[in-house]
């Protein structure tokens, strides 16, 4: 382990049933061999479980929701920076990425580096742009159309034919078999994530996932394929296994080379019965199952930090197929005083188990 200490701010500590990637990202950083990490958790809510996991974060600060605007976020980060001297921030939510991308230059002047997709990359890979994205980069994508009203929804759904996928612009996806179901999902998703809602042609097949890291020059620094083995009612992987699918790897390398992708990502791909690989979604950040990649030797969080700091990073070449991750839920006992301290003061030093009240 190198002695160099890097101060890293990490969001996404909500290790819930639809988990943020913060906790596994930090586990990867804790296992880094090229530096020693001091972790500052950046949380939106005082009940995010990652705040209280023993030995995970060194300290946590509450930060304002993206809806408060970038000025509020910057002001909060300036305060945190005056105390913590962060070297790097790893934002882990789709919904906050826009703010952080916008603030990249301002944060750099404060001494904070990030390694994020460009605004153009972030915008063009949106679900509602997937059709255009597929054409531009020569990738198979299922027909997708953004809709903003019930009338448009039903019209487009009938054109596509049922079942159709009804998707939120950031999260959530449901298969609707009837116009009535489609309308219900439209209401549910638009209330939570706003408009447009995306309608996508239903593709029957096997879902495959790929996480990776692009260096922004078109080179693949890391890429690990996974197939979900156990899925929650929210469609999240609760267990998964690494796979070696040649075509999946080829598509990933093509995606990185063609877009010159900068940063971590997750590709959701549906392999149809006819062996066509449809790109269903591009998540422009590290996924919550990232610790599986770390477990098979590709420490993507560590590589991302080094890229952010401008260090030379050797691409990972291989990984083992057949390694599983199996997630679990775990109840922590937390004193009211600790919860209170974070809620009232907006910051909380982590403590070890035997110090807990």
């Amino acid at each position: 382990m190198a002695d160099r200490i890097i101060n890293i701010g990490v969001t996404g500590l909500n290790a819930i049933d639809s988990p943020g990637p913060g906790v596994p990202v930090i586990r990867g950083l804790r296992e880094a061999t090229s530096f020693k990490a001091r972790i500052i958790g950046l949380a939106y809510e005082p009940l995010e479980p990652g705040i209280y996991i023993e030995g995970l974060v060194d300290k946590t600060y509450l930060i304002p929701y993206p809806s408060a605007g970038t000025d509020m976020l910057l002001a909060r980060l300036e305060h945190i920076q005056s105390v913590e001297k962060l070297d790097v921030i790893i934002p882990n939510f789709d919904a906050e990425l826009y703010s952080f991308i916008k603030l990249e230059r301002a944060l750099k002047t404060l001494g904070i580096s990030m390694f994020l997709p460009t605004l153009e990359q972030f915008e063009e890979r949106h679900k509602f742009n997937l059709d255009e994205f597929g054409k531009k980069y020569n990738l198979d994508v299922p027909e997708s159309r953004p809709v903003v009203s019930h009338n448009e929804l039903v019209k487009v759904a009938k054109e596509m034919g049922f079942p159709v996928m009804v998707k939120g612009k950031y999260y959530d996806a449901y298969a609707a078999n009837t116009p009535e179901q489609a309308r219900n999902y439209f209401d549910k998703i638009s209330a939570k994530w706003g408009l447009p809602v995306i309608l996508q042609k239903f593709v029957k097949g096997t879902e495959l996932n790929m996480t990776g890291l692009g260096d922004g020059q078109g080179n693949t620094i890391a890429a690990v394929g996974m197939r979900k083995q156990f899925i929650t009612d929210k469609g999240k992987a609760w267990a998964g296994i690494t796979i070696h699918d040649y075509r999946l790897m080829e598509i990933t390398r093509h995606f990185i080379a063609a877009t010159k992708w900068r940063g971590g990502f997750e590709l959701e791909i549906m392999k149809s019965a006819e062996n066509t690989y449809y790109l269903m979604e591009i998540n422009p950040r590290i996924p919550a199952w990232i610790y599986l990649a770390v477990g098979v030797g590709q420490n993507i969080p560590e590589a991302l930090v080094n890229l952010a700091l401008g260090n030379e990073v050797q691409p990972y070449r291989d990984y083992e197929a057949g390694k599983l991750f199996i997630r679990y839920a775990y109840d922590m006992i937390v004193s009211r005083e600790r919860f209170e301290e974070l809620s009232v003061n907006g910051e909380l030093e982590n403590i070890t188990e035997n110090q807990q009240i």
Binding site: T206, M226, R227, I243
Partner: protein, 89 residues
Amino acid sequence: MSTVKIQSNIAISDSGFLFNPATGESYSVNPIGLEIIALIREGKNETEICNIISQKYKSEQVIVERDLHDFVHMLRQYQLLDNNGGQNN
């Protein structure tokens, strides 16, 4: 009868656990299934495998032949055989 070939990337353990690294799927076979897979890997064709199994277990050739056919069909269905597998000799 035909010769079939197990895909070279399929991991097969002594316990009869099969793992396909391309798809992430895993399967279990019983000891006879494992024995048949070993014979397939040795390059034996279905007739030879049928003879070996029926002699070893003193079973009727016609029954072994039928069961072997079903087993090979299942291996093919689960994409465990080479695309070129199943060519007639």
